[in-house]
């Protein structure tokens, strides 16, 4: 899989991007195709497009920014965290793995973003996920994200403690 940093000039490449018919999926398509990705990039978010190894097809996109969250509850003080504002895989690649791969493309994109989050340096990675998007919730859970009870406008908040991942690796 190839990761290429997304720029506004590349928007024509995603004009046909389609990742599902559910409302939350459509929001993701609109995000990358419209102004939202560019607006988000102007606020510091980095966005990548992911291609098949031969570069012929777009698999999906992922993004990474930073924000301030109160975790695990609204009673806790705000801390700065990395956040995945948007992540989507085209319908054609839903649940698919590369020919020689051990994990799905979605998981590879997520792993890439986790790598980048660690580079960012914030010890926590968070995201919002639509409460109806069970496939995404499963994906994030498998990667170690905890589902917080706190939510916003029908979106669940999920949290990954990156420092735990670091400790795990140090022990290995």
């Amino acid at each position: 899989m190839i990761a290429k940093q997304f720029t506004p000039e590349m928007q024509s490449l995603v004009s046909g991007f389609e990742c599902g018919t559910e409302p939350f999926a459509q929001l993701m398509s609109e995000w990358i195709q419209g102004n939202k990705a560019v607006d988000s990039m102007q606020r510091g978010t980095r966005v990548w497009l992911f291609y098949t190894a031969d570069g012929s097809e777009i698999i999906g996109f992922g993004s990474l920014g930073a924000t301030a969250w109160r975790i695990p509850t609204q009673n806790d003080p705000p801390i700065t965290v990395s956040i995945i504002p948007a992540l989507a895989v085209t319908t054609r690649f839903h649940g698919q793995k590369p020919p020689d791969g051990a994990v799905t493309y979605a998981r590879m994109i997520l792993d890439f973003l986790i790598f980048k989050a660690v580079e960012n340096g914030w010890e926590s990675l968070v995201l919002y996920v639509d409460k109806r998007n069970e496939a995404a919730i499963r994906l994030y859970r498998k990667a170690g994200f905890a589902l917080l009870l706190d939510s916003y406008k029908g979106n669940r908040k999920m949290f990954l403690d990156l420092s735990d991942l670091i400790r795990e690796q140090d022990q290995n």
Partner: protein, 177 residues
Amino acid sequence: MSASLELALAKRLVSSYVDESEQWKTDHHHAMECWACQEWLQRGIDAFHWLQRAEEVFTQAEFHGIYEMSTADRDAIESLYVAWLAPCDPTEEWVATLAGRGYCPENLNEFRSLCERARRIVADRCEVPGSEPASCADLALEGFVVTARDAEAAATLVSRKQARYVGPLSNHGIVEE
């Protein structure tokens, strides 16, 4: 002469005493009702705090990886918020009646702020048929400001990270161009 004056005065005093005793009874009744309302509000306040406490226990357990909340757990907590809100409107009607008599329970503001919190929680967590979900992306960077101190702290952290997610991406079958 003097006796009739005294009788008139006595009549006035007795009449006043009798009349005001009726008013006093009414005032006492209203005051007692205000107390009853205050106690009722306190029951609601206490129940809300217990609910928040229960939620906190779940959230902390999930956060620390001790317990994974099930959909049933979440639904149970959400339904308790919905249930808690049910008496709010009748209670407000009671409060309005008391206010019309010049009484106001001392804990009314606290109760109302909890009502508002519960409404927000329910609005956020429970789906409204036909409503559009909020764009996660729109929410993501809302109100975010990175301070220089934050950036410095991050740089320090980066320097000591030797982790699974630091290193060549190619190990994970990803090539970054």
